[in-house]
């Protein structure tokens, strides 16, 4: 079962004034209380459940993962945000109806290999690129 989302503590940062403290502009900003930040989640693709183990030799399935979560200001360093995503989330604060938040999406994908029989009983090892999410980020 998925772990209950951890409650986010506010980071105490002395150097930069907290956005909420800036007069006027960001008054109505609420930290993303209770909402999950952009991160990687478990997703297992099972060849067994698909009933394919009569021709797939290995693996029986693989962890593909997926990305989900908020890309809300301020974008923490762990959210792999592009510069553009940071700017977009700032503009979203000012014009939420006009400009959406940045998207939580894979920033690094890796390959997975499948070993299987073809219909002539040849054995084939095929590498499939971009099948596994290694990390997520805001784009």
């Amino acid at each position: 079962a998925a772990r209950p989302p951890r409650r986010r503590q506010h980071k105490k940062s002395n150097e930069l004034p907290h956005p909420n403290k800036l007069p006027g502009i960001f008054d109505d900003v609420h930290a993303t209380e209770g909402r999950q930040v952009c991160r990687r989640h478990e997703l297992y693709v099972s060849f067994q459940d698909l009933g394919w183990l009569d021709w797939v030799i290995a693996p029986q399935g693989y962890s593909a993962y997926y990305c989900e979560g908020e890309c809300a200001f301020p974008l923490d360093s762990c959210m792999n945000a592009t510069n553009h995503a940071i700017l977009q989330s700032l503009v979203h604060l000012m014009k939420p109806e006009a400009v959406p938040k940045a998207c939580c999406a894979p920033t690094k994908l890796s390959a997975t290999s499948v070993l299987y029989y073809d219909s002539n009983n040849n054995v084939i090892l095929k590498k499939h690129r971009n099948m596994v999410v290694k990390s997520c980020g805001c784009h």
Binding site: A1, A2, H41, E42, L43, Y44, V45, S46, L50, W52, D54, W55, I57, A58, P59, Q60, G61, Y62, S63, K108, L109, S110, A111, T112, S113, V114, L115, Y116, Y117, D118, S119, N120, N121, N122, V123, I124, L125, K126, K127, H128, R129, N130, M131, K134
Partner: protein, 261 residues
């Protein structure tokens, strides 16, 4: 074998039941992502991994999968360490590069010119190449054949085994042959022999070449032709775990445009 990852059951989230048609569409989509036109249906009971090729390929899979797990996308398939299941040596030299597809070919027709025929004796194996991916560049190809101890008559001699590609068969004269690889070994040698037949793959692209004839000649030091069977070379009549096969390594073109559907 492979580690079974914890499967996530989203408790409380209603799981939509797919209709029959939707289930077929889902499977077709996943097969398309895997680059397969349809669901393979192997002939023989596919759960009998005692044949030589599957054992070798399973070893190669574990080496490659281990690399992918650790290093991620750019993992160079360095020379995999083949351990355990198959006692076969890894692909020769630095052959294993960053292959996208490795195909082991097991369908072949065997023909022998043996002791009951005029010399020189040979063994010829014609492989079906239709499973070699047409859209990929073959980076290496090997032929693997098992050798038992030679017949007693050759006990202490050295043998030279040459492998040729049968380029063209002629009705009234000897076939046109291209030398691919040569190995010198003791008659008493036992185990898998690996021949580099990459040179034969130059004209496999497209639909030109759908089968490949490989012909083996065996000679003693002083040039006497030896029947390959007497030299201990096993063909298709050998045990399943020692039957010959080919392995091709190919790489996709740099950016194969995904076909929009």
């Amino acid at each position: 074998g492979s580690v079974l990852r914890r499967r996530l059951h989203s408790a409380g989230v209603p799981q939509r039941r797919l209709s029959g048609g939707e289930r077929r569409d889902v499977q077709r989509e996943i097969l398309a992502v895997l680059g397969l036109p349809g669901r393979p249906r192997p002939r023989a009971p596919s759960r009998a991994p005692a044949a030589a090729a599957p054992l070798f390929m399973l070893d190669l899979y574990h080496a490659v999968a281990g690399e992918e797990e650790e290093e991620g996308e750019e993992a160079a398939v360095s020379r995999p360490v083949l351990t355990g299941l198959s006692t076969q040596s890894p692909p020769p030299g630095s052959v294993v590069s960053r292959a996208d597809t490795v195909v082991s070919l097991v369908n072949m027709v065997e023909q022998d010119r043996d002791l009951f025929s005029p010399k020189p004796y040979w063994k010829e194996l014609r492989f079906d190449l239709t499973q070699v991916p047409a859209g990929e560049a073959v980076t290496a190809a090997e032929f693997r054949i098992y050798k038992n101890r030679a017949a007693p008559g050759y006990a202490n001699s050295s043998l030279q085994i040459s492998i040729y590609e049968v380029e063209a068969q002629n009705s009234n004269r000897e076939s046109d042959l291209l030398l691919l690889d040569v190995q010198d070994l003791r008659a008493g040698t036992e185990g898998w022999l690996v021949f580099d037949v990459t040179a034969a793959s130059n004209h496999w692209s497209g639909d030109q070449k759908r089968s490949l004839g490989l012909r083996l000649y065996v000679e003693t030091d002083d040039g006497h032709s030896v029947d390959p069977g007497s030299a201990g070379l096993l063909g298709r009549r050998g045990p399943r775990s020692k039957q010959p096969f080919m392995v091709t390594f190919s790489r996709a073109s740099p950016s194969p445009g995904r076909v929009t559907r």
